[in-house]
Symmetry: C2
Subunit: 586 residues, 2 copies
């Protein structure tokens, strides 16, 4: 309230203000009007908005708007900072330069690794960010309890505790079937949001109507997984807020904008980025890309800006955000051009943070020890080649395989291959279409591992290892030769995680992600070329899939059909049970 | 959550439901679509909405919609139940019959009389209401501390306590100048709303821009006092929700609808009734009248219904209200005609409460002792004629007068009259334009009184007494003859308050309001003719003003310029200080 009082006092006397932004064309997201204005700011808040007059408002600092458009700072309602592979403060650089002044981040990935400690680390790091980072409390840590070993488990107790330590919502509730079925765990978790007066955010891709309606009835307010018109309309009709996503992997706007247009731009829609990698962030920015894309697809610019600001603020229940109006935080973007969303200056709480696409002050570097504390590759011993083999008796064995789907890389099917057994191990040397895939527990919880076979993933030589493997982020290694796989795993353990490729006994690419095995304390300019390089190195091994460094880990995604692997075994996803790696020996 | 779980389970299996409403034209307030539907209801909530199909959904009870329109129950965001002169459960009858299924009531009047006890009484009585009554905690008890004796005082401590005992918001914050100036009392009170995650509702008639913007910056979310286009636009631009009022005294829609139209029906607007008397309620209903009036004034019916439901639910922060959608309370109105808002059936939490304008079950009568507990006319002694005189020395005296303004009855001006003094008392027998006005403290706090003079109020004979006198509701008596005034006051004390008129030594009209001196436990059909009768009886004494029974009490309204009277003395409103009744004696 102290900031509000400063703003109120300044409003009452019409200044002097801490800062005055003169001569702008203000985009009023409440009324959808654009009019000439000057803005008085005090206490970090918008205090007074008035028509430009003789002399103008007085302020300790005066910025000449020169007829530029003033729009509220953008709000990304759902984003995983970890997907940027940068720590929060470095991620904030690209946000601020994109006109994004608030994000509702879901630190789901790092919490699966390090639990509550990670949540607090992310909060602490965000204190040095250049825009506002709010954290929703992850709802599915782990995604599927019992089928894999995560670094932590969040039940209602942990979730309540994090809500009481600054959590600003309940993050994407992915177990939508559990919610719809009122499972004890998910019901208790969703109830915590209501108890704490916090919004619960959703995730329900292409649900059948009964599941969608049951899910909506739980009180979960939104979904960012809509990918077609019909689905979008169904969710809007249920009263859910549709968070329209443009991520690295998903480009949903093209399908969603026609649905919104059909309803004459409803107020239950906003934007999000979900997962964006450094190369995409560097090329097209963060949420500003959603705005530009929406306008290209036919949405009026003022409607798009309203969606990315006011609608978002309502969803995340932050009444002091999302507009340029008295008592709202002075998060303001000055644009040279409205339709192109050409960003000139970005203010957060009345402070200029970014100008012409550059931060005013560079991000503070981490002290080395801070980063090292987050080294989370905790293995009981250095992985030997023996780990990356499949034992079998007799001369041949029928072995289950995870069949890669080239058309829909996110889906897999279960297969079986009859293979020779040599020296007690399944031999794939004669089969270029097969590769070993090992998931190795890396959270210091015993180091259990499973090795299985993947078919048709494209990798023909060398090996790739990664600690990015949704959602438990165990150490995953893919290769055809146990020696190469062992080399990759050991190299990754040394550097605290990330992604590594090896070929012919040499490391051919390394993206070190020492913070939780998921992030690095480096800027987007530093990260983007390294990410492109490791992608190229992995693709050089033959790896298929849209994203060669995410693809290996996706074989461990135990929530998406039909078959996946965890450190505990091969998983039949629909049945939610284990199946043996070796089906039959003889 | 238990009700939600019932709804979710029923949705998941597509029934059977507790209740199915078949074959309706559903008005979807999220998408502004109207489409054929059937509605499955379980646990009192909407569980499933689907297109009418073969056989249809199955339910323990099935209602044939027969092509009627299904719209969400209306929500009145600001209403004083006390103005209906009925206790909450009787007021609920007219609401339910009007399609109003939720009100945000401000029990401001009765709390000024009886404090926290009254808040709890109102809550308890509401348990037997036929629709949902939410109570906002009154913010200005009393309106002007120090200038009058109210029955109670609410500071931040009492307000927090009531918020924690089920209060659902902070009621109209009337001291807008105090808020804008960050007065310690008002700042602390407004902060309680933010602390408790509750909405704060506003009241700021025609504020100058700096005051409006400072007021909006406090976080107060709405205002129901807009009466012209310019004012409406200014508030909407600040992000405030404009609550468009049609009350007994104020018919604001005619001025406000053009402003909303100009902005193409913005989503920051809703409806309220504020104060409505029984005769108006019986004639035109409650909030349904706002809807009908808005449509007559050119607003599309679906927009008007959206305003009266979804927009209102958002303002009062009740995400389970305001729409016919999964997980929302099944508050549903079936309409024979959309444009005319012709109400056929009203459901609250899935129970049919009103059909063809009549309750299904009559309101339960009070036990007599309940009503008697609320008898709040607590005088130290029976008022004698001597109380209703003005003492003065000498032969003549200059006496201050409250000048009635026939053009703008809500305003008064200060006058002075030179009058004869007889037997130590000011004599007005020769002046038909003057009357005595006495305010007598009636809350059991000492019984202090002030008698002064009113000029040109019209009353030429008899006397009128009332316990409705905003905002402290002390006993007010107006007359030319102390004997008649004493008779009126005593009669009123006997019946526990209300309004009484006497003439020539006889009671000519009596409206008994034994509950707090403000309400009666009687139905609108019983009350309306009695209210019309007492209005006629008071007007027969010559009384001017729009509302002859509210007018006497309005002379005690110490917040509106220029001069008023409280039990403690004559009040200069702008200076907020006392002035003597007798200006000069000689």
């Amino acid at each position: 309230m102290d900031c509000a009082k400063k703003a109120m006092s300044a409003a009452l006397t019409k200044g002097p203000f801490d800062l005055v932004i003169r001569n702008v064309k203000l985009v009023n997201v409440f009324t959808e009007e654009i009019y000439p204005a000057e803005i008085g700011i005090s206490g970090g808040m918008v205090a007074y908005v008035t028509a430009p007059g003789e002399g103008g408002l007085s302020g300790a600092q005066v910025v000449e708007g020169a007829g530029r458009f003033a729009v509220p700072g953008l709000i990304d309602t759902h984003v995983h900072i970890e997907s940027s592979m940068m720590t929060p403060r470095y991620f904030s650089e690209v946000c601020a330069n994109s006109g994004v002044t608030t994000i509702m981040a879901d630190p789901h990935e790092i919490c699966n690794v390090l639990g509550k400690q990670a949540f607090h680390y992310m909060q602490k790091d965000a204190e040095r960010a250049r825009m506002r980072i709010l954290y929703a409390v992850p709802s599915c840590v782990p995604a599927v309890p019992g089928l894999e070993t995560s670094g932590a488990e969040f039940g209602p107790v942990e979730i309540a505790e994090l809500m009481e330590s600054g959590g600003a919502g309940l993050a994407e509730v992915m177990d939508y079937v559990g919610v719809a079925n009122c499972s004890a765990r998910m019901s208790a978790i969703v109830e915590e949001a209501e108890k704490h007066h916090l919004p619960a955010f959703g995730h329900t891709p292409l649900p059948p109507e009964p599941i969608l309606q049951a899910y909506a009835a739980s009180g979960i307010a939104s979904c960012h997984e809509s990918t077609c018109t019909e689905e979008t309309l169904a969710k809007l009709r249920c009263g859910m807020v549709v968070e329209c996503r443009e991520s690295s992997a998903c480009h949903d706007l093209e399908a969603l904008i026609p649905a919104l247009k059909q309803l004459n731009w409803p107020d239950n829609a906003c934007f999000c980025t979900d997962d964006k990698e450094p190369d995409d962030l560097l090329r097209e920015g963060s949420l500003c890309n959603n705005i530009r894309r929406a306008v290209q697809l036919g949405m009026p610019a003022v409607k798009a800006i309203r969606m990315g600001t006011l609608h978002a603020a309502r969803l995340i229940r932050q009444p002091r955000l999302g507009a340029i109006a008295p008592g709202r935080w002075a998060d303001i973007v000055l644009l040279d051009n409205l339709e192109q969303f050409a960003i000139s200056e970005v203010y957060v709480e009345g402070r200029l943070v970014s100008k012409n696409g550059k931060l005013l002050e560079p991000i503070e570097r981490d002290a080395l020890e801070e980063t090292e504390q987050m080294n989370t590759v905790r293995l009981p011993a250095a992985p030997t080649p023996a780990l990356f083999t499949i034992s079998a008796k007799g001369d041949t064995a029928s072995v289950h395989t995870i069949q890669f789907n080239d058309q829909v890389p996110i889906l897999t099917t279960l297969g079986t291959e009859k293979l020779p057994v040599k020296n007690g191990h399944v031999d794939i040397s004669g089969r270029e279409d097969l590769a070993f895939l090992t998931v190795l527990e890396r959270h210091g919880k015993g180091g259990e591992h499973t090795t299985c076979l993947v078919k048709d993933c494209g990798l023909t030589h060398g090996a790739v290892a990664a600690t990015i493997s949704h959602d438990c982020h165990n150490l995953i290694v893919l290769g055809r030769d146990p020696e190469q796989m062992s080399l990759a795993a050991n190299r990754l353990a040394e550097c605290g995680g990330g992604v590594v490729s090896v070929d012919e006994g040499k490391v051919t690419g390394l993206l070190a992600l020492p913070v939780g095995g998921l992030m690095a304390a480096r800027s987007v300019e530093e990260m983007a070329p390294d990410v492109l390089a490791i992608k190229q190195a992995v693709r050089a091994l033959g790896m298929k899939g849209q994203n060669p460094i995410i693809q290996p880990g996706s074989f461990a995604l135990t929530v998406i059909p039909e078959v996946r692997v965890s450190n505990l075994g091969l998983v039949d996803v629909l049945a939610q049970k284990f199946i043996p790696v070796v089906a039959e020996e003889d």
